[in-house]
Amino acid sequence: MSASAPVVVDDPVAQRFRVHRSAMTSPDIHRAEIDRIFAKSWLYVGHESEIPEPGDFVRRPVAGRPVFMVRGVKTGNVNVFHNTCTHRGAVVCRQDSGNSKVFQCFYHAWTFDSEGQLKGVPDRDAYAGGVNFDELGLRRVERVESYRGFVFASFDPDIVDLRTYLGDAKEYMDLVIDGCGGSVEIVRGTNQYSFAANWKLLVENSVDGYHAESTHDTYFKYLVSIGTDLRGGVSGRAIDLGNGHAVIEYSSPWGRPVAKWEPLFGEDSRTEIDRLRADLVARHGEQRARTMAEVNRNMLIYPNLIINDIMAVTVRTFYPPAPDAVDVTAWELAPVNELKALRQRRLDSFLTFLGPGGFATPDDVEALESCQQGFASGGVAWNDISRGMGRPAMANDEEQMRAFWRRWQHQMGAAADLAAAQ
């Protein structure tokens, strides 16, 4: 059932697109999002490079639910389990990361192996015949699939397969991964931060080309001060990738460790970057190599995964514990076996722009909290997201956000109705 008074009003005739601010403030809408979006989508869990060896594991919340991802010792497969003992509930994986052949619940010492099988129950004879211990292995998250090392899970057993779900977004993930030489890893060190704004404001912000100049003036001044030539400017387009996914792609005024040299990288790095570029051309052809090396990509994989391939590559996911709160977890993605000098530039670029101690992200946080505060003022009921509707969408337009919102409205159905959202 669709909404009779929808929260998202898409008017292609008047070329107007508006979102009612209750989408960001209503507890009812928030509750519906948990059921209709976060329980019904493919959600990013982690990257296979985080668990290279049998028994390697990481634990983390996915959509607020504690799960853990472990590489099975017997199969080598990536397993994602609900982090709860099948006996009486305690979490069985109690470290953020590590390597273990077994996961023992400390409460009553029930012990599970890395494939989830229940291997140990103290005093097993005390149980009568009604208990089948073979059925009491760790519960797998309903669906787990990977695309080129990116592990996703879904709590919806009936969801389409991951490749179908990702659709055209796969092509852009390929550009990121192949642009890094085809083999990537998550760098050690995680950014975990939270702030007081609705999660969808971070969706918009993560793919927003329009805000860069005004919000991030101090960052661009910093770039100029260290010798980056920004005169090339930023130009590009916004693309609706279907299924709620979207990307903006635009020329890069700054250097990219794969493979656009700038003086900042130092003469020593020039040979290596030329080699990386030649390698990309040989493998992917001149045009595709050029796209990989010189074009930035800010991509949303619906509903809550951002892969931004800019002066560094970030993988960022987030979840709303409340309508006005968002928990963000972000990692840096990089090519394996990267030349030390290039890795250093990549690390520097990430933390100065994308990191919560950098020269840009804190100002994004301020902007989004400021929006949330503004909503509380009332008086203005609608956000306007119409920019660029009358033309082929540019990277600093808002078509990529409209792609998200259209899918959001569709998935929310009757729950995204002004009457329901109070």
């Binding site: 933390l351 101690g357 804190p362």
Partner: protein, 161 residues
């Protein structure tokens, strides 16, 4: 000064002076405490032993970037810190750890940050390398290792710890 005559009290006085400059937002004066080959580092919460040449850091400033950080915070366009937070940098459990050409010092810190009706608190351990010159100290290295397991309660590290 030589190691024989440097007392913990002298080091503490220096750290208190540094804290007072930060709390007064006298960042240009604060920057003068650093030698021009100095570094200022804040590792990620889940990698407090982080090596900035291999691991992602929250902050990895050489002197030039530290100066850029100060210039940014002095401008009216560092939106997260304009207007500025009120901060209170508290330094204690000071230990003089080792001495060669530089004096290694560690200390506990709490940095309180108040802004727009909200408060947050950073807790951790400082690691300094100080160079005694002309009866004063110069900072060669400052690192703030956070004890919080993540930044969920503080949102960011837009202030200087």
């Amino acid at each position: 000064m030589t190691t024989a005559v440097i007392s913990r009290q002298q080091v503490e006085d220096f750290l208190y002076t540094e804290a007072a400059l930060l709390d007064a937002w006298r960042l240009d004066d604060w920057l003068l405490l650093f030698d021009d080959d100095a570094k200022y580092e804040v590792p990620c919460n889940d990698a407090v032993d982080g090596d900035p040449s291999e691991d992602l850091m929250l902050i990895d400033d050489n002197y030039a970037r530290l100066a850029a950080r100060v210039a940014r915070l002095n401008s009216r366009r560092a939106h997260r810190e304009y207007p500025h937070s009120r901060t209170n940098h508290q330094v204690f459990n000071v230990r003089l750890d080792a001495w060669s050409d530089e004096l290694s010092v560690s200390a506990s810190f709490t940095v309180w940050r108040f802004r727009a009706g909200r408060s947050s608190c950073y807790v951790g351990r400082y690691r300094y390398r100080l160079r005694p010159t002309n009866g004063e100290f110069r900072i060669a290295f400052k690192r703030a290792e956070l004890d919080m397991t993540d930044l969920r309660d503080v949102a960011d590290v837009a202030i200087i710890l």
